[in-house]
Symmetry: C2
Subunit: 203 residues, 2 copies
């Protein structure tokens, strides 16, 4: 399980899309949310858009791996699709914030196999610029986002890896390298002891 977190405006969504296009063994965890759909968004692709009552029923049914309340809306990661993907041997990418990451890391069953990456913007100026070019957001929302960005960044030290997103191609290559390296870790390589026994002449 690979978590990418960042303040909004640091470029995380662009990086996630590029990763998913390049890596057939990686699937995106799609969150459920109560926030309204934005122009261009697709239900079941960007988010599962659900109402308040449905979201609360899902919480009570234990259907979330993690959930949080941000800017007046609920966001949560449905457990079923993640467990199915992992059982099929696929890596799962999570585009969630620090609260969700902590809840995932605390999960008894899945927390051990979590790799977390925090993406930082190259500068405050760049972050402000990116937050202002999202035309559909009001000034008030931009101000909220800047405050939330500062709050989000205060949690960078809880992550395994840190990438400063100076250049999207370079950042995607960095996440690729992290994924490959993590797959090469001894404890993630299944069947290794049998393979080595065979090499040593004790099959």
């Amino acid at each position: 399980m690979l978590v990418l977190s960042s303040p909004s405006g640091a470029g995380k969504t662009t990086i996630s899309r590029a990763l998913l296009q390049r890596d057939p063994n990686l699937t995106l965890s799609i969150s459920a949310t109560t926030r309204p759909m934005r122009p261009g968004e697709v239900d079941g692709k960007d988010y599962f858009f659900v109402d308040e009552a449905k979201f609360k029923a899902m919480i009570e049914g234990g259907e979330f791996l993690e959930h949080a309340f941000v800017f007046g809306h609920h966001y949560g990661t449905p457990r079923g699709p993640v467990e199915a993907a992992l059982a099929a041997g696929t890596d799962v990418l999570f585009d969630i914030d620090w609260q969700g990451t902590q809840q995932l890391a605390d999960d008894q069953k899945l927390g051990k196999d979590l790799v977390s990456v925090f993406i930082l913007p190259p500068s405050t100026a760049e972050l402000e610029k990116r937050l202002h070019t999202r035309a559909q957001d009001s000034e008030e929302v931009v101000r909220q986002r800047m405050a939330k960005a500062a709050d989000e960044m205060s949690h960078y030290a809880e992550y395994d890896y840190i990438i400063v997103n100076r250049n999207v191609e370079e950042s995607v290559a960095s996440v690729d390298a992290i994924l490959l390296a993590e797959r090469l870790k001894r404890e993630r390589q299944i069947g290794l002891s049998g393979f080595v026994a065979g090499l040593r002449g004790n099959p």
Copy 2:
């Protein structure tokens, strides 16, 4: 500090050479040895070739980070060049066996910053084939090498990462990914807390 270990014949030397050519921030630790120079080898490039007396004086002077006795000859890693390279911010590649790796990992000062990679041959048949094509070695030496290879492989579980060398280009890319990922680990990124404080508006 990056350690590459493998049974001889698994392709480690080819991989090391390719890494050193591609990565200007990586320098090779050159071992000292009492074994005779082989045709084509260069003193100070392949090894520092020293006699028994000199090697023992170096041991007594505390000049080795690690040393071991293998096939009747001494091998050791001189401490000075490694410390100088690390102080200059260069990563250091070690082409040493499991005994040397353990000694390096136990080093109070340097052991914490060690990343170890074990390279396995794709099959026993391939390993035997590669050991037989080194024309200058006698059958007896090949037999010794096969025994040593089995012994060396019994220590794979002490390494952080495992690469099965099916293809040299792929294995080099794997080590590259490990190096990049390890450099992106939060605890290896110097000056990060000041950078994040600046981003958050508290320079």
